[in-house]
């Protein structure tokens, strides 16, 4: 997939090639250059049946995949970026409902990029979790 492809094609290719994204049931939509990732609620995502609440790892993984998807939109290579590190902040319980996330690329480097992601459910202004992460960019070509 080269940079002659459209952002929508690059996003679709990233989502389709990653088995773990299908496991989560994650999808994403593009409005111009703004991507919104969507994690539809599914019972297998629950980590705490008493509350009930989404597994914290699922929220972290969903935001990490959101960052990787956003990076795939801006890069043309066939390989996805690789996660170097992430710091996940848990702000509110992730309830048993649909979750959304948007990524902000703070720095798109040739080798390393820095990305922030926020995830929310009922209200964009009340995020349930956030991550900051560094990602190794795929080699060009």
């Amino acid at each position: 997939m080269s940079l002659e492809s459209t952002p929508a094609e690059r996003l679709a290719a990233f989502l389709a090639r990653t088995p773990y994204i299908a496991f989560l049931g994650m999808r994403a939509e593009l409005a111009g250059d703004e991507m919104t990732a969507i994690l539809p609620f599914s019972p297998h995502l629950i980590g705490n049946t008493l509350l009930p609440a989404l597994h914290g790892g699922v929220l972290g993984a969903f935001m990490e995949m959101t960052a990787l998807a956003q990076l795939a939109v801006i890069t043309g290579g066939p390989r996805p970026a690789k996660t170097i590190d992430v710091t996940i902040d848990y702000l509110r319980p992730g309830r048993a409902m649909d979750t959304y996330a948007r990524a902000q690329i703070k720095k798109a480097g040739r080798r390393i990029s820095s990305v922030h992601v926020e995830a929310w459910q009922e209200a964009r202004a009340k995020p349930v979790a956030a991550i900051r992460g560094h990602f190794q960019m795929p080699a060009e070509g």
């Binding site: 989404l54 597994h55 972290g60 969903f62 690789k82 996660t83 992430v86 996940i88």
Partner: protein, 151 residues
């Protein structure tokens, strides 16, 4: 309201092995990922996740997705806190460093250690490896809030 046995055990003292096994294998997400209980001891816990094709992050390499490692590390941190304090807890923050990709088609093992408890907070370290704990795939550092605090 009838609570499951693991919750009662968690509220009344040390987490026994059956309750720990339940916590690792019987939540919907850990069941979906195929987590297996390995052990608990004083303030420590170990979980294993067998490789599976649908958990792969990059089909060209066949390596388990980093997102699976995130959930594995979060869960083993929770298990080690239960082994230390036996009260329910919620993650405040979780920092994960990915040192290297796991080997293709390798199972992963995670060890957690709750090295400090205050009345309200648990501090935890964990690592994930694919056979040799001295050559980890990822390491984690986390803080958890103890729900209700320690009495």
């Amino acid at each position: 309201m009838v609570k499951p046995p693991n919750f009662i055990a968690a509220m009344t003292g040390t987490l026994d092995e059956e309750a720990a096994r339940h916590m690792v294998t019987r939540t919907p997400q850990t069941e979906a990922l195929g987590f297996q209980f390995v052990s608990i001891s004083d303030a420590r816990g170990t979980i294993q996740v067998p490789w599976r094709a649908d958990l792969v992050g990059d089909p060209e390499t066949g390596v388990i997705a980093s997102g699976v490692v995130t959930t594995l590390l979060d869960h083993v941190c929770g298990l080690s806190i239960r082994a230390a304090a036996a009260v329910p807890q919620g993650t405040l923050d979780l920092r994960i460093d990915y040192m290297r990709p796991a080997r293709p088609q390798a199972d992963l093992v995670a060890d957690g250690h709750c090295y400090k408890l205050t009345r309200t907070i648990a501090f935890v370290r964990a690592l994930a490896h694919d056979g040799d704990p001295d050559d980890p795939v990822a390491t984690a550092q986390a803080a958890f809030a103890l729900v209700g605090g320690l009495s």
